[in-house]
């Protein structure tokens, strides 16, 4: 199941890249040696205004809409806006939501608005947050963000986040912009996230997600793999996929192209 999803994502990415490639082919300045160039663009996108997420209701409405407008549901990228959500405390399972949308031919590519927590869990599902449109505050935020970004290349080493105590069910630890090192176990139902690598010198029974801002060059090391989910830059494996030779063993997880690769940690 993960593999098909990863493959889907890969296809999607390739498709997007191809589009970008076509545009660039028109520009005469192109040098054959550079394989790509980043350019700003403005796109008109459909937004999916989410009021409440409940698997059954959402599924029902999707299939109803599919009947009414089948042409819309054809590899349509959408931005999920979260400003109108009725209950902001309720957790939205963005992985499930994205998966269902994709099954209907609608491809969420990002979220906008919502609380920081929601944006974080969307990011975990591979949906980055777009800046809010129109509000005067956001333009200021943009300015400061840009200032920070331009300062970023000179950044000093960010120290790793080190957690000494066990991470319990229901807890979430996020190491922003740095590695995460855990000395105690990660329980079932707990989630550890990092923009960088994750090292766990104890059993991992919950979820570990490295490179959640899309850094594919991140790794997860753990002393005893009993995880619910392991993910690197959005490519993940769930417990079912992890059963087998490495279960209960010390492992090293990394990305090999589009494939999440788990190997034993042997010296």
């Amino acid at each position: 199941m993960t593999d098909t999803l990863a493959a889907k994502a890969a296809q999607l990415q390739e498709r997007l890249l191809n589009k970008a490639g076509k545009k660039e082919a028109n520009s005469p300045a192109d040098n054959e040696e550079t394989s790509f160039q980043l350019k700003a663009t403005r796109l008109t996108l459909t937004q999916l205004e989410l009021y409440d997420y409940d698997y059954d209701n959402f599924n029902r409405q999707m299939s109803k809409n599919l009947k009414q407008a089948p042409h819309f549901f054809n590899q349509t990228p959408v931005v999920i806006t979260l400003d109108k959500i009725r209950n902001t405390d309720k957790k939205v399972d963005f992985i499930e939501l994205t998966q269902m949308c994709q099954e209907y031919g609608v491809f969420p590519i990002a979220v906008r608005g919502g609380t920081e927590e929601m944006q974080l869990s969307a990011l975990v599902a591979g949906l980055p947050a777009l800046p809010n449109q129109g509000s005067s505050k956001s333009s200021n935020d943009d300015a400061t963000d840009k200032a920070q970004e331009s300062a970023a290349p000179k950044e000093e080493m960010r120290p790793s986040k080190i957690i000494h105590r066990p991470v319990r069910s229901g807890q979430q630890i996020y190491a922003q912009g740095c590695d995460l090192i855990l000395l105690g176990p990660v329980s079932t139902g707990a989630e550890v996230l990092s923009d960088g690598n994750i090292h766990i010198y104890a059993p991992l029974r919950g979820r570990a997600l490295a490179g959640i801002r899309g850094n594919k060059d991140t790794h997860i090391f753990c002393q005893q793999l009993e995880a619910e989910l392991v993910s690197i830059a959005g490519h993940y494996k769930v417990s079912d996929d992890l059963q087998g030779t490495h279960w209960g063993q010390s492992i090293h997880a990394r990305l090999d192209g589009q494939h999440l690769k788990i190997s034993g940690l042997t010296s």
């Binding site: 319990r168 229901g170 059993p203």
Partner: protein
């Protein structure tokens, strides 16, 4: 004098929080500590039944919080054990009646008089449980050898680290103790039940005691007699050991291996 505040909690319901609060609270008093047990299960009052003082409840915790009664009016003195008092919960109100400020005032007042305050937490992770644990210095996590109970205990341990007064003030974290109840060594041996090692490995909390599954627990609850007073029962003895360990003594764990009797019984088909 500042009393030590101990919360007895679990997340999951029906694992033996009230039974354990009653037994351990009584154990403290038996060892000469002036003890009060507070029932935080507002709306689902039970501690009074286990302590056999239900016919003497006039005022309760919520009355004291709302200043409708004084502490001395609400505290019930235990008839069997010296130095033991019970502060019952209100049966007619709900958990919203608990306020952090109110509870703080009650605890401050009790703190001047008692050595140890045992807070019997309600199940769940909502207001009642959060208020019961908020002021705790130490916590006894009651767990059954069963996966859902262990996971809920794990959740509660996380909350103890993040949502208590000690956590808010950045002081030394709440000291955690693991109490395994309803343990049946025979069933563990048959692979039907999680072992002590399994639970310790998942929760990573020092083990305070293991209370074996015993008919005497239910009997004691129904008779309104804290099981620790039943010195013949293995559960009563195990609670006694747990209290001694809590107070710093080194006591070897008993009743954690299948008993000879049980093996004989199984051999001859009796149960």
């Amino acid at each position: 004098m500042v009393a030590k505040i101990v919360v007895v909690t679990s997340g999951k319901g029906g694992v033996g929080k009230t039974t354990s609060s009653a037994a351990i609270g009584t154990g403290f008093a038996l060892r000469g500590l002036k003890t009060v047990i507070i029932d935080f299960d507002v709306g689902l009052r039970n501690l009074d039944l286990v302590m056999n003082c239900e016919r003497r409840v006039v005022y309760d915790l919520i009355n004291v919080i709302n200043e409708e009664a004084t502490l001395s009016q609400a505290l019930i003195k235990d008839k069997r054990t010296d130095g033991l008092y019970i502060l019952p919960a209100s049966q007619t109100r709900d958990k919203d009646a608990l306020t952090v400020e109110g509870v703080q005032r009650v605890l401050d007042e009790l703190s001047g008089v008692f050595d140890i305050i045992v807070c019997d937490s309600p199940a769940g992770i909502e207001k009642g449980a959060l208020t019961a644990m908020y002021f705790a210095d130490e916590a006894i996590i009651v767990t059954n050898p069963e996966v859902s109970s262990v996971r809920d205990s794990d959740r509660i341990l996380g909350i103890l680290q993040s949502k208590t007064k000690r956590a808010a003030e950045g002081r030394e974290p709440v000291k955690e103790h693991l109490l395994i109840t309803r343990y049946s060594p025979e069933r563990v041996k048959k692979g039907e039940m999680l072992s002590i090692q399994d639970i310790e490995e998942i929760l990573a909390v020092p083990l305070l005691g293991v209370i074996p599954e015993s008919k005497s627990v239910l009997k004691a609850s129904n008779q309104g007699l804290p099981v620790i007073l039943d010195s013949v029962s293995v559960a009563g003895q195990a609670y006694g050991d747990a209290v001694d360990r809590f107070l710093g003594q080194e006591v070897e764990h008993r009743f954690i291996n299948p008993s000879r009797m049980a093996i004989f019984k199984r051999m001859f088909g009796g149960e």
